[in-house]
Amino acid sequence: MSDRKIYADAKTALEGILKDDMTLMSGGFGLCGIPETLIEAVKDSGVKGLTVISNNAGVDGIGLGVLLESKQISTMVSSYVGENKMFAEQYLNGDLEVVFTPQGTLSEQIRAGGAGIPAFFTKTGVGTLVAEGKEVRNFDGEDYVMEMGLTADVALVHAYMADKEGNLVFRKTARNFNPMMATAGKITVVEVEHLVEPGEIDPDHIVVPGVYVQRIVHVPNPVKHIEKRTTRPRN
């Protein structure tokens, strides 16, 4: 197996594929499973006017928070945001546009985008602001709203392990949006905690097949952040 998909670092992995006003997808839920190293490299690239599709928008100084701080994002497509001050500020003064999308509609739109499905119907959001301006259709006595598939110029993904073919596995709830985004990026760039040879991952356990992955960067021992540390007493 060649190393054709392997890049030395995040900067190199993003070389030649970033441009102003592009659409990025970024995996993760809260700070869990976010492609943090790749996001930092996007910041360093200085690319501007980004539309970012991501369930959340990071916190101050972490994850997408750094791209808000540097004002590189012009539009967020998310289900829940505003965990950081920077976000609230830019949103309220109009520097940042936000498209609120129900979480399940968002993840299904991304799956649909990757799967060649331009549109689908869901009952989520019928009769709410979310359905305004969209087609609503009745199937079997129930109303559904039509939602469109989503793709991105580049998808940024965090995986637990990859082999050099690009087969990916994820760890616990760090899976979240990463698998669908891997399928919906015209170019998908993955940061992985563990990089192994093909054959080292059981083929029955692979979550994202290598066909979806164009570029891989190995980021061993990443710092992982906990947004809300909740514990119970030992007794």
Binding site: T122, T124, G127, T230
Partner: protein, 214 residues
């Protein structure tokens, strides 16, 4: 006199049935997990991508890769499975979750629910709430009966809706209401009063029209 947050959670727990798959919202709904009857098998779903959610970890055993939909550290159980967010909402939208218990800002007598935005205030987004109320088989709202005296059970929600006609039951600190959706029109029924609360107390603090079915 009225129910405490704990008592509201306890009352909601009475709606659990053996073998149920349940999604709990943040706040009081989360407390329901403390009142699952002994011997009853309940699997909790966390919409970020987990079924079979365990309790908070012991201090020092937190895992950044293992959080719930409220971004809190949690643990896994022998029954746990992990899946993508799309698969999680396929489960929710497809009607495979038996019960969703969540909070609300307003509930109307036609079973409409508002719990995600206040115009003019900073909007954080609906998260998974719209999908949950649209897709889950039974939706129970647990909330304070009023917002500092202002009724939250209304004739019509005046806040933007989370879902239309989606609520099946409301448990407040003062009473329990069930929605009957069998006929042409939705009927809201008062089915239970909290300890020390009278029908007059409820009538005085409820804008929604309801049938008394105590």
């Amino acid at each position: 006199m009225a129910w405490t947050r704990e008592q509201m959670a306890q009352r909601a727990a009475q709606e659990l049935e053996d073998g149920f798959y349940v999604n709990l919202g943040i706040g009081i709904p989360t407390l329901v997990s403390n009142y699952i009857p002994e011997g009853m098998e309940i699997q909790l779903q966390s919409e970020n991508g987990m079924l079979g959610m365990g309790p908070f970890p012991y201090e020092g055993e937190e895992d950044a890769d293992l959080i719930n939909a409220g971004k809190q550290t949690v643990t896994e159980l022998p029954t746990t499975s992990y899946f993508s967010n799309a698969d999680s909402f396929a489960m929710i939208r497809g009607g495979h979750i038996n019960l969703s218990i969540l909070g609300a800002m307003q509930v109307a007598e036609n079973a409409d629910l508002a719990n995600w935005m206040i115009p003019g205030k900073m909007v954080k987004g609906m998260g998974g709430a719209m999908d949950l109320v649209a897709g889950v088989k039974k939706v129970i709202v647990v909330m304070e009966h009023t917002a500092k005296g202002t009724p939250k059970l209304l004739k019509t929600c005046n806040l933007p809706l989370t879902g239309q006609g989606v609520v099946d039951m409301v448990i407040t600190d003062m009473a329990v209401f069930a929605f009957d959706k069998e006929g042409e029109e939705v009927t809201m029924k008062l089915i239970e009063l909290a300890d020390g609360v009278t029908l007059e107390d409820v009538e005085a603090t409820t804008e929604a029209e309801f049938i008394v079915a105590l």
